[in-house]
């Protein structure tokens, strides 16, 4: 079917574009990015920390040559920090400066009613676009060439803030009471990320494509390490990825994710390792695991894991 071959071809094209920006995407991720572009919907990315959720947004921006506008969410974030704020100081300053001009403006008005009429004519100069300080969300809508808007760790923000986002996510517009509705010049690609710290509202989820990024398959992870840390030899790459994926079968407090694998690969390269040895692993385990308890729990298994990942290196 011509239609589907073209769509699978364009999904592959998305995959290639992301790869050229240094992001190795699985087919699910590429499909999501392709679809977000086609049906103009934000992507809500969930998954454990360090699997490349934020990185995805950066890669999309880089591959399309667009600016990325990032908004980090935290508790207590409100519309003044996310959407827009009035430049109070500027308004104040201008009123002070213009005070002297008041006489000239009202000069020919001899009654109070007339003076008021004339003042009304000046209207809302102080509440015009000149005095709006755009915050990330408004800035994203105003970009003339479009952009990638990354709303990072949405689960950290309050529930009220979620409702503030709804208008932007579904219609790509915001309403400022004094100015009216501002629609996007070019609809931005919106990526929301969440670590699942709290359940997001159904209204928000409904407006997004829901993409879950988990730990990658060993093959994919090898390719990721290959692009990110070019200095690693093929055997070492296979071994270290095999080791990490075995580590993930243990009951640990914080499982090592892709970013830890990359860090570890960098460390091993710096140490000049060409092969995974027990001592080497034991010395550098603190790069992979972030809790003392996790390291203790892993220590007895290191030898078997190294041996097994070595064997996989031979046969895989």
């Amino acid at each position: 079917m011509a239609e589907s071959t073209s769509s699978s071809a364009s999904i592959e094209a998305v995959e290639r574009d992301l790869a050229s920006a240094g992001y190795i995407a699985s087919r699910q991720i590429a499909t999501a990015v392709y679809l977000a572009d086609k049906i103009e919907k934000p992507i809500l990315v969930e998954g454990p920390a360090g699997v490349g959720k934020t990185e995805l947004a950066k890669a999309i921006a880089a591959s399309r040559g667009l600016e990325m506008i990032r908004m980090q969410c935290y508790e207590g974030l409100d519309e003044a920090k996310a959407l827009y704020e009035w430049k109070y100081a500027k308004q104040l300053l201008y009123t002070q400066i213009l005070k002297d001009k008041l006489g000239e403006v009202l000069g020919d008005a001899d009654t109070l009613a007339k003076a008021l009429d004339q003042l009304h004519a000046f209207g809302d100069v102080f509440f015009s676009k000149e005095f709006v300080e755009p915050r990330p969300l408004l800035r994203a809508l105003e970009q003339p060439k479009g952009c990638v808007l990354l709303i990072d760790e949405i689960d950290k923000s309050d529930a009220e803030f979620e409702s503030l986002l709804l208008e932007i996510l579904s219609d790509f517009q915001v309403t400022i009471p004094e100015l009216g509705t501002i629609a996007a010049v070019v609809k931005p690609t919106v990526i929301l990320t969440s670590n699942g710290e709290r359940d997001l509202g159904d209204a928000l989820k409904r407006r997004c494509l829901h993409l879950h990024i988990g730990f990658p398959e060993p093959k994919l992870e090898e390719r990721i390490v290959e692009t990110r840390v070019p200095g690693v030899s093929a055997t070492l790459r296979k071994q270290l990825v095999g080791f990490v994926s075995q580590l993930r079968t243990l009951d640990l407090k914080k499982l090592p994710s892709v970013s830890e694998t990359i860090d570890w690969a960098k460390v091993l390269v710096l140490l000049g390792a060409s092969d995974l040895g027990h001592e080497m692993v034991k010395d550098t385990l603190n790069v992979l695991l972030k809790y003392e308890g996790d390291i203790e729990a892993t220590m007895p298994n290191v030898s078997t894991f190294v041996a097994q990942s070595g064997r996989q290196g031979v046969f895989g």
């Binding site: 079917m1 589907s4 699978s8 087919r27 679809l35 049906i39 104040l92 529930a159």
Partner: protein, 463 residues
């Protein structure tokens, strides 16, 4: 393809994935964008647009695989495994063409012309055509409307009717005289056709009817007395309790700050406007934080009420977002704290351990209350709701109602949940009337429904 997707949405709802009309529109648009050609991509696309959580993704993926699995033509004996009613529209059309071709071929091969289409297909052993005919018949009989298992026979007979079973019977009768060998083959074919249809209906029930069946089962379970559940129902009950907990969480985990309009927070206003000389451009208003519920649950785990006690701590401990502080105690002869056990173990494990240490004895309310006062009275604060779950049957030992009075005085509310019927309170060794005087609320709590109401009311008093 649209019809197929509509049926898939219905099947997905059956699998417990909540799909709103807006989501189905999105899914349609997205599916139209990629086309039905590559099934793996279509699967990804539907997962992206329809499922909104990890569990939903897993359920939907399983549902997709069951729905879009194509019958294996090569290995199956005639019509035996062709139970799929769910084919892509494009495949349906292909099948149609096939059927016509088969019919042509059959008549060209010199089959008696008066035989019905179905008989011809069976004789020609054209599996593709039979599959297509089956799926058409299923559509005509609107098989996707099946909801409960009692409808199985009805839908099976409807499908067979649509297939033209009457004609086939006539054909068999006619052939018995003229061509007994063919008649025998047809009779065998009819038998396997019946089997196939019944399998097809069962699968349709699995796909489309699951939601209804589960809703029905849960409804029965909700109003069944918890003390008399069978072993197999207990696991289902745990699931139900989890659902109830989710419902309560959604209802009560709304923001806990309420603005006190009209009360200016002078200090914060001054600080916020310091930049422009204290002229109050921005005002800050006083807020009042609402307390989250603090709950102390004291559960009787003696033989008579053990099963009910199983579920109350389970429910309360799954209300993390709503309730800030929970402590649970279990007693029969004496009392121990079980909060840590419940937090750190699976419910089955925790219950087993609790039962091993204090369970199944004969209950001694007086001694257990004394234990509580001695060691844990400090857990009770003026913000705490104390829930006591038990039948108040103290085996004629001293009930120590005075301790309960002191607990009631210290706490915000004291709620007694009794799994026994109200009629039997106060008879035999039941001390319920004496205890009831010191409780703010006393209610019967024998079913999951009553348990949900009781806990919901308790949490609601903090809102």
């Amino acid at each position: 393809m649209r019809d197929t997707l509509h049926r898939f949405f219905r099947a997905a709802r059956g699998a417990g994935v909540r799909i709103s009309p807006a989501e189905s529109i999105d899914a349609m648009r997205a599916a139209a964008e990629v086309g039905p050609g590559d099934r793996a991509i279509l699967r990804d696309v539907l997962l992206l647009t329809m499922a909104k959580s990890g569990e939903e993704k897993a359920a939907l993926a399983a549902c997709f695989d069951a729905f879009f699995t194509h019958p294996e033509f090569e290995q199956s004996p005639p019509a035996n495994d062709d139970q799929q009613d769910a084919d892509d529209a494009s495949d349906d059309e292909a099948g149609q063409d096939h059927a016509n071709a088969a019919a042509d071929a059959a008549s060209a091969a010199g089959q008696p012309a008066e035989l019905g289409a179905l008989a011809q297909m069976l004789l020609a052993q054209d599996r593709a055509a039979i599959t297509a005919a089956l799926s058409n018949a299923a559509n005509a009989a609107s098989l996707s409307n099946i909801r409960v298992f009692t409808q199985r026979g009805l839908f099976a007979s409807r499908v067979l009717e649509q297939l033209g079973i009457a004609q086939l019977r006539d054909d068999i009768d006619a052939l018995t005289a003229s061509n007994p060998a063919d008649a025998e083959r047809l009779a065998a074919g009819l038998g396997s056709l019946r089997e196939t249809v019944s399998e097809m209906v069962s699968q349709a029930l699995l796909l489309y009817g699951r939601e209804e069946t589960e809703a029905l089962r849960n409804e029965i379970l909700r109003s069944a007395p918890m003390a008399r559940l069978e072993q197999r129902q207990i696991a289902q009950m745990r699931l139900l309790i989890r659902q109830i907990a989710r419902r309560l969480r959604e209802r009560f985990s709304k923001p806990r700050k309420r603005q006190r309009r009209g009360h200016l927070d002078v200090r914060r206003t001054m600080r916020r406007n310091a930049a422009w000389g204290g002229v109050p451009f921005l005002t800050a208003w006083k807020r009042r934080d609402r307390d989250k519920p603090k709950i102390v649950a004291i559960c009787d785990v003696s033989g008579s009420v053990a099963q009910v006690s199983d579920f109350l701590p389970l429910l309360i401990h799954s209300l993390h977002e709503v309730v800030s502080d929970v402590r649970s105690f279990a007693f029969s002869g004496h009392l121990i704290e079980v909060s840590a056990l419940l937090e750190n173990n699976k419910p089955e494990e925790a219950m087993k351990q609790i039962m091993a240490s204090v369970g199944y004895g004969s209950s001694d309310y007086g001694r257990s209350l004394a234990d509580f006062e001695k060691d844990f009275m400090r857990a009770v604060t003026p913000q705490t709701t104390v829930i006591v779950l038990g039948d108040a049957r103290s085996n004629n030992l001293d009930p120590r109602a005075d301790i309960l009075r002191r607990i009631g005085e210290r706490s915000k509310r004291l709620v007694w949940l009794n799994p026994e019927n109200r009629v039997s309170w106060g008879f035999g060794d039941s001390e319920m009337p004496r205890y009831a005087t010191f409780c703010n609320v006393v209610r019967q709590c024998a079913t999951a429904q009553q348990l949900e109401r009781a806990v919901s009311d308790i949490v609601a008093t903090y809102q």
